[in-house]
Amino acid sequence: MHETAAPAVVHGPPTTFLSKHVFSLDHKVIGLQYYTLALVAVVTGMVLSWLMRIHLGWSSAAIPGLQVLSPNGAPGGVMTPEYYLQLMTMHATIMVFFVLTTAPFAAFGNYFLPIQVGAEDMPFPHFNMMSFWTTFTAFLILVAAFFVPDGPPLSGWTAYAPLSAIGKNAGPGEGTGQVLWAAALGVFCIGQLLGSLNFISTVLDMRTKGMTLARLPVTCWAWFITSCMGLTAFAVLMPATILLILDHVAGTSFFIASGLVLNDQLVPHSGGSTLLWQHLFWFFGHPEVYIAIVPGMGIVTHVLVTNMRRPMLSMKAILYSMWALAFLSYMVYGHHMFVSGMNPFSSLVFSFPTLMITIPSTVVVLIWIGSLYGSKLRINTASLFALGFISMFVSGGVSGFFLAQPSIDIMLHATYFVVGHFHMVMGVAAMFGIFSGTYFWFPKMTGHMMNETIGKIHFWLTFVGTYCIFMPFHYLGWAGNVRRYAAFTDDFLKPLIPVHQFITVAAIFTGAVQLLFIYNLIYSRFRGPAAPANPWEGTSLEWAMPSPPPWNNFGGHDPIVYHDADQYGVKTASGADYIMQNSPEQALGTAEGD
């Protein structure tokens, strides 16, 4: 009976404003909600980074208006060192959780995963709706930390105990702010769990006739793999945050060792272990990095294959590499802890799987580059960002050669080299994936084309700008510049301040450029020319429906799939160089030349 128990779409068309736009069960609306949330979060996070950058370049500069946001943190608009750390914590938390996890995975995944597998919706629309609203609640809880008396926590997004666990004596924001932070993450985990359940069961159980696993577009696999990581990684973070909250509010001491002294007072906790927090946190933390980047890899592959007009040299190699990354992500988390007091033998054990990450990453990059060879590359904003992604991914990836080795980590740990590394490879690269996906799918999501000219200007300024920001980070770290410093007073850091000033200027410039993107989004949403169903001549199922799709996706006519999504560069009777997945047409041969 199980084989034929086909799930049907479970909701009718929305009837009221609330059910259409707010508490919608429609995966597309939920995808857009996630996207909007990510947009709000990314603007917040970016403004925070501006403030931090200004402070790093000119630490005594008054920032107009900042004293209004926090009279204690920025008296007269001049940021205090502790406020710098608080902004830094919030910047990182917002960016990692509410942008890099939310946009490429939850936003695009929700919108396009059911469409690409040919389903009318996900199997659990109510879970899906709850998933968004829990994530949204988590965001509100996190942002609320700005408005409690002590402000947000200053312990960084890794919240290393005992700084994050001993309460408000440890520093500003370490009381209520830290509890709110932990609660926000705990709630976020629930949202991700619900999302992951839906994604996995959509891929396994909701594929339309003919959409065998082998014919799934690469994006579906990327989201599927990400869900598998999300299912287990967030499940470990959640109890960790609960234990952290218990340390705060219930007087337990899971993460607080005995005999600590703060302000000449013995801390009334004993027996816990700071290393325990680090193990639990990074067990989640490393898969989280791939949760941020793997969907981007999928999107970029998808965009590239459409714009290269030829199949990837080997889609299988890309898929296996993504699986390998997911597999390795559980075995390498200790490379964050090489000098943090972990057993030095464990450091070596963690180092080799970490170095092995090079292999799948290089395979993916080489397949991308090798597939460019002999292609008929179309340059548009989406493909520009996808190509930019490759460049960023390489730049961020090679610094991993250094950081994977414990001996070199002695010099580079906790320096700006690390900051440069992860901003390049999981920050900017993932952002480029998001941009690429946005320019690629915007016509489908809204029914309007985006403005290509503004888009290209956006790309050029962003591409050059981000290199100007993040390459110098590596030089700073190489010279030993320690991260998480609110100002540079040490003798050996002072000569580096001009570099920081250069980065600040570049960051403000690049950030301002993003206004172009937001303008483009809003303008094109309302004034953009109407989008055809298949503007990029793609093959996957999202292009087989009107733009934007109706509430039930395929209008009650389920597509039947005959091919994989790689039918580019083929000869057809109609003269087109591609065959859509739902077209029964057979290729007359490949258009391959010498």
Partner: protein, 267 residues
């Protein structure tokens, strides 16, 4: 526009590499006995990373240049060797090379962590607290007195929580705010955290180790050059983190003895 992207990528890649090739920004010169291996490892990795970086970026640029030209013929070509060649290249050229690098690098790591300190190494205890380092020398008896956290009091300068009245070993302990060590003598550094996690990072000495509250770690090293070096905290420890540092003075044996005498007198 494809050509422009190709040129931009190649220019950015080369420009990014220039400061590394020109040694514009360098870590401070190594003054330790074990640091040579680390420096060597860093240099080797830099060569490998640099070559991979430039090769990938330039190849990417070249292919974009070549294949973004609008073409009228409908032919597409396949990369010679196909996917198999590329996968093998990825595994052999990059993967195995990097793994080999890691294997050699283990030696540098072992030199720091898997070798016991010499029997005559000079013990120094360092205590990290918000937001200062304090150092303790065992004094003539060569023994550290036990710590009593509940007795720590910054007002009366009992920074370590010593109890000289009851503990004989504590009476001759020397507590200082800066660290002095004799040159070319191995130091056995005993690390103790007072409150939260901190880190002991001396770039010039090629040592970097976090303090773990509740777990007293140790390091050992030998400085080879007289001079003053900065000890900085690199583990986020609170609002004064950016300002948490101490100075490490590497002195000749004679200067060190004098310094020690002065410090003992000041206790």
């Amino acid at each position: 526009m494809g050509k422009l992207l190709a040129v931009t990528i190649i220019i950015i890649a080369i420009a990014s590499a220039v400061p590394f090739v020109m040694h514009t920004w360098e870590p401070p010169a190594d003054v330790s006995t074990h640091g040579g291996l680390i420096d060597e490892q860093m240099a080797d990795t830099m060569i490998e990373a640099g070559v991979s970086f430039l090769a990938a970026q330039i190849l990417l640029g070249l292919f974009i240049w070549q294949f973004s030209k609008p073409r009228t013929d409908s032919k597409v070509k396949t990369f010679p060797g196909g996917a198999k060649g590329l996968v093998i290249a990825a595994i052999v050229l990059v993967g195995v090379e990097v793994l080999a690098l890691g294997a050699f690098g283990s030696k540098a790591w072992a030199a720091v962590y898997f070798t016991p300190p010499a029997a005559d190494a000079m013990p120094v205890q360092v205590q990290a607290g918000q937001f200062a380092f304090y150092f303790r020398y065992p004094g003539p008896d060569g023994k550290f007195g036990p710590l009593h956290p509940e007795m720590i009091n910054e007002g009366n300068q009992n920074l370590f929580g010593l109890d000289p009245e009851h503990d004989v070993e504590s009476r001759d302990d020397v507590v200082t705010a800066e660290m002095a060590i004799p040159v070319n003598k191995e130091v056995h550094l005993l690390m103790h955290a007072k409150d939260v996690s901190h880190s002991f990072y001396v770039p010039a000495l090629r040592i970097h180790q976090d303090f773990v509250p509740g777990l007293d770690l140790s390091l050992h090293f030998t400085a080879t050059k007289v001079g003053t070096y900065e000890i900085v905290c690199s583990q986020l420890c609170g609002l004064g983190h950016y300002n948490m540092r101490a100075y490490l003075k590497v002195l000749s044996q004679q200067d060190f003895d004098e310094w020690m005498k002065k410090e003992q007198a000041a206790q």
